[in-house]
Symmetry: C2
Subunit: 345 residues, 2 copies
Amino acid sequence: MRVTIADVARAAGVSKTTVSRVINTKGEVDGGTAARVRAVIASLGYVPSSGAVGLARGSSRTVGMLVPSLTWPWMGEVLQGVVDTVEAAGYGLLLFTFNRGADSVERFTTQVSARAFDGLLVVEPENTLDKIIALSDRGLPVVLIDDRGSHPDEFPSVVTTNHEGGASAARHLLADGRSRPLVITGPEQFGCVRDRLGGFREILPTDLVAVGDFTELSGRLAVERLLAAGTPFDSVFAHNDISAAGALRALRAAGRSVPDDIAVVGFDDIPMAQHTEPPLTTVRQPTRRMGETAALMLLGHLGGATAQETVVLPTELVVRQSAPLAANSGPVNGSSASASAHRFP
Amino acid sequence: MRVTIADVARAAGVSKTTVSRVINTKGEVDGGTAARVRAVIASLGYVPSSGAVGLARGSSRTVGMLVPSLTWPWMGEVLQGVVDTVEAAGYGLLLFTFNRGADSVERFTTQVSARAFDGLLVVEPENTLDKIIALSDRGLPVVLIDDRGSHPDEFPSVVTTNHEGGASAARHLLADGRSRPLVITGPEQFGCVRDRLGGFREILPTDLVAVGDFTELSGRLAVERLLAAGTPFDSVFAHNDISAAGALRALRAAGRSVPDDIAVVGFDDIPMAQHTEPPLTTVRQPTRRMGETAALMLLGHLGGATAQETVVLPTELVVRQSAPLAANSGPVNGSSASASAHRFP
DNA sequence: CTGAAAGCGCTTACAG
DNA sequence: CTGAAAGCGCTTACAG
């Protein structure tokens, strides 16, 4: 039924070895012979069986990707960056999630042992860093897309400039004359949260810090509490766009004008940030490039390149109406200031 | 290095055949022998090589999924539904996109021929239905997640109740006393667009129809033009949430109040719909269930079940502030009216 | 430049 | 209940 290398060899009047050699362009093959073999391959529509090639070669030309959730607003961009890069290199992408607890872990580890893929890209699922480290120790090439700033040193990772991102938000607010900012953070144990807060406070010290959890509700509550307490503030820096949206809603409900009374800056630049009222000024994470970069690092490693260090990709302040440029101003839409950072080659 | 079935056989003092039999629990094996083999497997940490199993069995226990883009707002939910279902069945998911034109097509077709996966789930990339049909004709099991209402009859598909969804939007507006609706459609050639429009007009006839393209801009322009022309209207039904967001923005910019002057209803219920100003009433597509259902259909087919017919999943009207319930009202948040439809078992 | 043969790690008739 | 052997479709020393 299906066309095999033996069929090609027979039709071309050569051995399977020779066919294999022309396919993989390795070893010397007579020009005429090669042309004949290629013609037969084309006419028969032969395509090597990936399973057989994998078995014989001991590698699958496939990379795995493990993510905690596929429905997070920035995950699509990361995935797109990964898929594009991996496909362009002729690899396949096997996708796994970790959303069913122990059961998922079990099944996933099995897949690893089954050698279903050659290397792994991971957006760290909660509390699984130790498992990932174990896999890495057993020889599986791993690259982490380090969205929460875990900074592991067991394997290479891709992060963004969380510290500088926080600082850029502070500089922007400062330039606009704001001096009493409220910071709505994510969970305290995350490295990215500490970095964003640290960077911000270096430029614009404040003790108005509400620990949130990246949800809309936590952003809303933080603002409501501060308003209820009567504490004065003139701006908000939220550690993600979702909680910034919550802050916007609470401010609007309380009749405060954004940005006239209170300026608001978020973090991430998810698609929603363009559609809040008013549109959100935010620190953009280069999510697609993070995916691309991580994939390139992993592919490089699989290709034998020496293990890459951690790569830091720059955030970028995207200015919209919720915190426009100061007085003298310029066009408000689309202007941006790049944060300095080490660039991936 | 790696543990093989031969190592297990040797350690257990049996043949590879017997080990294979206990792994796959097929054929009669003595209880004691089986127990011994299982003990050895556990102690050695043996996991069968997926590549070898695939080669020997002629199937890969993997399904492919082809999508036009991973960054569309509802794609994450579809993917999550697919991945959860596929993983639970012990299958792997190989992900492909079609965003680089002819090059992608080529590479993808090759993967198919390489037998990298046993069946295919597809969210139809533009102008590729004929290619997919060709693959299906060659014997590849295919299930379509038919987001644009193409209704192919070459293979089973999962759709939502576009006609009834449009009708439910109309009934809601009608009950609120609206009689001059503007409909902002998607591209006319899409079946889902014709269905949504048809269902809507059966309940609430109107000739105010602006052909859009599912972008925010097209929604904004449609409203701006109508306002500029001075044509009176009291409501908007947009064929997706993004263009509804554009309509909201144009109305706000023109100083029209939503919902007091103009009520707005969208379609999809993407995450953003909760965060527009005001939050958007919309016809919810059961995207995650569409993914789950398509995956179940494909897995069933691979498992030898007879080919399933097309399955239609119900939309659901989600009522928020942009078009609240009429006068006597009830709680505005989260109430919903299920559209009748054929349910997948 | 080319080919015969072994091997990758499994499964599956076939025979006992 | 169990095993020897062939076979899945490739690649890769090895020999010429």
